[in-house]
């Protein structure tokens, strides 16, 4: 046991991450054995559909949580991005490529808004989230005149953007998602931005007194989150076509759960992109598996909740023992 723990790879990833990987694999085996026709590509593709947008949300919120903040406007903002850009596409004839850019732009704007209020005006992130959640829903409904927006079908001329998710049976989205995860991991661990974001999550005042412009970096975390939420919107519509104004809240919890399950600490300062990715895959696999077992989504929520509690508790215990 001790030997495994001191293996360099294990040490780098963290023991709990390895366990989480094990949980993921066990879950797959479990569902394959007990679920209806679970083995095979279609199920995995379907689970991945769910993992993409949730994954981008989770990646985004990981940055915010790393600063010790929280953002639960991500779900509604994702819908707002998809609605505003989709409405431009369907009603104003904006080209698809530009619409995708608009989607990312809307997400970024909300990121700037949230980040500015949190970092420069010291409004508690909780309040900011609550406000921007309402604003995102409102803006989306005003912009679309309270209409749901359906993005073009894959068969149509404008449907090329769906290739971002998959071409034939090849999961292009997975590749893109993993590339983004690697980029996020590099930003978090290898760049100044990441260093400051994590450090200020751990001890903001100490970083400020080191002569660092903490406001700028704290805001940046929210902006990165916003950008990723904008991207999440693209993957949402590429997989699920239609978005409605006034919704999206339900994805907040799952995105935060995926992130925290992976070992990112709610108190800030500790974040693991690898963990987030595994966490998201667990949730996505779970939702697919639960359906294959003919259970309702309710069980997915409950089990997700329990896994998060156990995972975080394991981290709490591990940390306590270390100190």
């Amino acid at each position: 046991m001790e030997k495994i723990k001191h293996n360099p790879i294990v040490e780098k990833l963290g023991f709990n991450r390895i366990i989480l990987c094990g949980v993921l694999i066990l879950m797959y085996v479990f569902f394959t054995v007990f679920g209806d026709n679970f083995a095979g590509l279609p199920r995995i593709l379907s689970a991945l559909n769910y993992a993409y947008f949730l994954g981008f949300l989770s990646l985004g919120v990981t940055f915010v949580i790393a600063t010790g903040g929280i953002d639960f406007s991500i779900g509604p903002v994702m819908f707002c991005s998809a609605l505003v850009s989709g409405y431009c596409l369907t009603s104003y004839g904006v080209p698809v490529a530009l619409s995708l850019v608009i989607s990312i732009l809307v997400g970024t704007l909300f990121g700037i808004f949230n980040g500015y209020l949190v970092a420069y005006w010291s409004v508690p992130p909780f309040i900011v989230s609550m406000a921007s959640m309402n604003i995102a829903k409102g803006v989306a409904s005003v912009f679309t005149k309270t209409q749901s927006v359906s993005w073009p079908q894959g068969t149509s001329e404008q449907g090329w953007f769906r290739n971002l998710v998959k071409v034939g049976n090849f999961p292009v989205g997975l590749v893109i998602f993993l590339v983004f995860a690697v980029i996020c991991s590099i930003i978090l661990n290898k760049t100044r931005a990441g260093r400051y974001i994590l450090s200020l999550g751990s001890n903001k005042e100490a970083v400020r007194l080191s002569g660092v412009n903490v406001k700028k970096w704290e805001m940046l975390a929210y902006v990165i989150c916003g950008i990723l939420v904008g991207i999440a919107a693209i993957f949402f519509v590429a997989a699920y076509t239609t978005v409605q104004p006034g919704y999206g809240d339900s994805y907040n919890n799952e995105a935060i759960a995926g992130c925290v399950m992976g070992g990112t600490s709610m108190t800030g300062g500790l974040a693991s992109i690898g963990g987030t990715v595994i966490g998201v895959f667990i949730i996505a696999l779970l939702q697919e598996g639960i359906l294959a077992l003919h259970f309702s989504k309710d069980y997915q929520l409950i089990i997700t909740g329990i896994i998060v509690i156990v995972a975080v508790y394991a981290d709490v215990v591990a940390r306590r023992r270390r100190n």
Partner: protein, 498 residues
């Protein structure tokens, strides 16, 4: 001195990987003040925590009032009459003084808490101790000193027979310490057994009857205070003599240029019209009582807090400092009095903390140049003799003195010319203190200029080339080391300004 009220015999306590207490014995008599001394980490606090039930002992016996006892929590200890006044203030800022004193044993009227009676009782208690505090005051509005008094009042209100003072004077001003001593003498007269933990040698001589010294979790010996010298005690603590005398004369050349000039600085109530100059290679001591506004002045200069008015000149040039960022750009570094809160990022490694203020220099393209970072931090670990298993160690795992060195390294990496040391040796044990002093002297020799804020008179007199004294937010005096004496400084520090 009366009969023995408390005996701790052969106490053993293990923490994972550490033998924290190794068969330690200790006794307290009625009506004595018994000093418990030792460097940081010697096991004093652990011993007292075992006594009051915060930790569970692994072996050994505690005999209290003739019976063997084992307290399972502070509450049990309290009700038996063993109470502790903690080093860190354990106040609940949002509650009133009376509510704090009676927390956990409120008077009740039916199911309601009888706040009126609590206020009355608190008042009586304060009268008994001759302390002037309003029981209905919110705790966070009191000065640190008053808060400490409340802690003591709280301890006494438990009908205590044994009171443990864990470094009670650390946060007190000289006058408050006097008050404290008066109270302690009073308690001694009432035949209470008092344990007094402190680092301050002078106090030990003044107030205690016996001294027990611990080192590395073991019992070293017990002396009668009157019959021993400071050196004896220090010898027992560290095994070598390291007591240094005050600096005799300034080390700064007469014609040394002014590197920092502050004029008419105002920042709230605590910084009013402060002006001074700092010369190259100088250690400028900032003395004064707790709450005199020294830290506030430093923070205002550094841009950590907003200032209302005043000019700052660096090397003769006027600069605008609105944030720590600006200050750092001007070559100022600030080592906070509260390392844990303002100095280090505990979840980061030694290397990462070292480059915290300089990271832009260790960036290659988009990425942090971790190799260069490691090299530079290793360099300073070596040159400052920081004791860490590796530069990848999280700073949270280092001792206080070594954490301080990491913070110093952070500013040295930045190559700051002006360094503000705010209480640089607070909470650092004697051996490490000396190293910090040596380091500061060396920095000054190398041409760095240092502002040192300290509440320890001996430290001020030992290190400073010149001393600025503050009182209630105003500068009340400036004195060269040659003329400085404890009395002279104290005079200025308590000078009333109308």
């Amino acid at each position: 001195m009366g009969e023995v009220i408390l005996t701790m015999k052969e106490i053993d306590k293990f923490f994972p990987g550490v033998h924290a207490l190794d068969h330690v014995s200790f006794e307290v008599r009625k009506g004595e003040v018994h000093a418990l001394m030792g460097e940081n980490g010697a096991g004093k606090s652990t011993l007292m925590k075992v006594l009051t039930g915060i930790y569970k002992k692994d072996s050994g016996t505690i005999i209290y009032e003739g019976k063997e006892v084992e307290f399972h929590n502070t509450r049990e200890a309290q009700s038996a009459g063993v109470v502790i006044v903690h080093q860190e203030l354990n106040m609940l800022g949002h509650l009133t003084v009376a509510q704090n004193i009676f927390i956990g044993r409120e008077f009740k009227k039916g199911i309601a808490i009888d706040d009126k009676k609590m206020n009355e009782e608190a008042k009586k208690l304060f009268d008994r101790l001759h302390i002037d505090i309003d029981p209905t005051e919110t705790m966070s509005n009191l000065t640190v000193g008053k808060q400490q008094m409340c802690e003591i009042a709280k301890a006494i209100s438990h009908d205590a027979k044994v009171i443990v003072f864990d470094e009670p004077s650390a946060a007190l001003t000289e006058t408050e310490i006097e008050e404290l001593f008066k109270i302690i003498r009073d308690l001694r007269k009432q035949q209470m057994g008092i344990v007094y933990i402190s680092h301050r040698m002078d106090e030990i001589k003044v107030i205690t009857d016996r001294v027990t010294v611990m080192r590395d979790g073991t019992y070293v010996g017990t002396l009668i205070t009157e019959e021993c010298t400071k050196d004896d005690i220090i010898n027992m603590m560290v095994g070598r003599v390291i007591y240094e005398d005050p600096k005799q004369k300034s080390m700064v050349a007469k014609d040394a240029p002014v590197v920092l000039k502050v004029e008419h600085l105002n920042a709230g109530r605590m910084v009013q019209d402060v002006s001074f100059e700092l010369h190259k290679g100088e250690i400028l001591g900032f003395s004064g009582l707790m709450g005199a506004g020294r830290t506030e002045t430093a923070r205002a200069i550094f841009g950590a807090d907003p200032k209302e008015s005043g000019d700052i000149y660096i090397n003769g040039e006027k600069v605008t400092i609105n944030s720590p960022e600006d200050a750092v750009k001007c070559g100022i570094g600030y080592l906070s009095e509260d390392r844990k809160r303002y100095g280090i990022v505990v979840q980061k490694t030694v290397a990462e903390n070292s480059t915290m203020a300089t990271l832009e220099k260790y960036v290659k393209g988009l990425f942090i140049d971790k190799k260069a970072e490691r090299e530079v931090s290793q360099e300073y670990v070596d040159s400052l003799d920081t004791k860490t298993p590796s530069i990848n160690q999280l700073v949270v795992n280092l001792s206080g003195g070594n954490q301080q060195k990491v913070v110093i390294a952070k500013w040295l990496v930045r190559n700051c010319d002006i360094l503000i040391f705010d209480e640089p040796t607070r909470g650092i044990d004697v051996g490490a203190k000396n190293e910090i002093y040596k380091l500061m002297n060396k920095l000054a020799e190398d041409g760095k200029s240092i502002i040192m804020i300290s509440s320890e008179m001996t430290e001020i007199l030992r290190m400073s080339d010149r001393i600025v004294v503050m009182c209630e937010g105003k500068k009340t005096g400036e004195i060269g080391i040659e003329e400085a004496s404890q009395e002279a400084i104290m005079n200025m520090a308590t000078r009333e300004i109308s």
